[in-house]
Symmetry: C2
Subunit: 210 residues, 2 copies
């Protein structure tokens, strides 16, 4: 599926295109031009065509893209035509809220494990039926339940240690909500979600104009 060095930015945009296309599908739109899609996503039309061109030809000249097909093709490109199992580590405010959040399941991501260091929480059942395990059991449980991606929602202090354990358990993908830069071996891919950094960008723009 992957033919050349693909810019990371392209991958991110493909996700965004897909989201927008899925929206359009629900409004019964069947075909769209790169120009209209570009406007809706806030990018340049040529950008969309280039991004897709890395992976093949998906449109029809003179017509545009059949949305249903394109969504499926983007899913193939991103590896989303299969289920992905998630483990949540840290069930404080944020972790609990995320695990209840409907967007994961909507996009094919399933929580198959949940961990916390607080023995008070261990054994409790979450709304989705999962029972919280102690972080000590992380390695075993992760392997047993075939977790693919670990989500870190612990305090910053615990994040690195959790990351180490996840790597030990054979995890190669981590989504990190802790506000710290975690260090992992090259085999493991980390994506950070840090909203205070986003707020800093907003503060900068508000302070010094766009």
């Amino acid at each position: 599926m992957k033919f050349a060095k693909i810019p990371m930015a392209t991958i991110v945009r493909l996700s965004i295109y897909m989201r927008t296309l899925q929206e359009l599908l629900e409004e019964d739109v069947e075909v769209i031009s790169s120009e209209r899609l570009a406007k809706q996503c806030g990018v340049n039309p040529a950008q969309i065509r280039k991004d897709l061109a890395y992976f093949g030809e998906f449109g029809v000249r003179g017509v545009g893209y059949r949305i249903n097909d394109l969504v499926n093709q983007i899913k193939d490109i991103l590896g989303l035509n299969r289920p992905w199992n998630l483990a949540m580590v840290g069930l404080g405010n944020l972790g609990s809220a995320l695990i209840r959040h409907g967007n994961f399941i909507k996009h094919g991501y399933v929580f198959t494990a949940a961990f916390d260091a607080d023995v008070q929480k261990v054994g409790k059942r979450l709304p989705n039926g999962l029972i919280i395990n102690h972080v000590n059991e992380l390695e075993d449980v992760v392997k047993e339940r075939e977790v693919h991606v670990g989500i870190i929602a612990t305090p910053a202090n615990d994040a690195q240690s959790v990351a180490n354990q996840l790597v030990l358990a054979g995890i190669n993908g981590i989504l990190n909500f802790a506000p710290i830069q975690i260090q992992v071996p090259d085999c493991c891919h980390v994506e950070n979600v840090d909203f205070t950094i986003k707020l800093d960008s907003i503060a900068y723009h508000l302070s010094f104009g766009s």
Copy 2:
């Protein structure tokens, strides 16, 4: 403070440098070289020096950067040496968790208003003392409490309408957690936080190597 066209990526990195530097301060490190900081942040040392060079000279040749000073200078650059008032819109799982999350206050962001469309929730008091207002009151309350940044944590369907109201109320910065691309006038700066997009990137990496 702003001298030239500054790359957005530079602004984001400055936030990251600042976070790391603040960590180091707590460990009583006083001075750091661009090389060590770079390693810790996962970037190139020259990158750090270039990023800072947009705004002035902050280091000492042959020595490095005095961390305490540099943190303050980055705060000046980003406009963080002042309080910023936030309004949360949407107090479902995610919104409630965020408003309880300690990281905002730690970095100088204060919630001064909270809104929900559910009349059941209106009037309730949050852990931080705030009382939930109905979204109908958004414009008035936002102006009265001098809100600078609106945070959207509503379902995707409501996000655009909330954004419109925020703009009407004079808000120029929005942090959007709803998984949808919201449209706003140019005067308003939007940052999106969409973790399923991050998960998609991870899925891609796991599927097709790094």
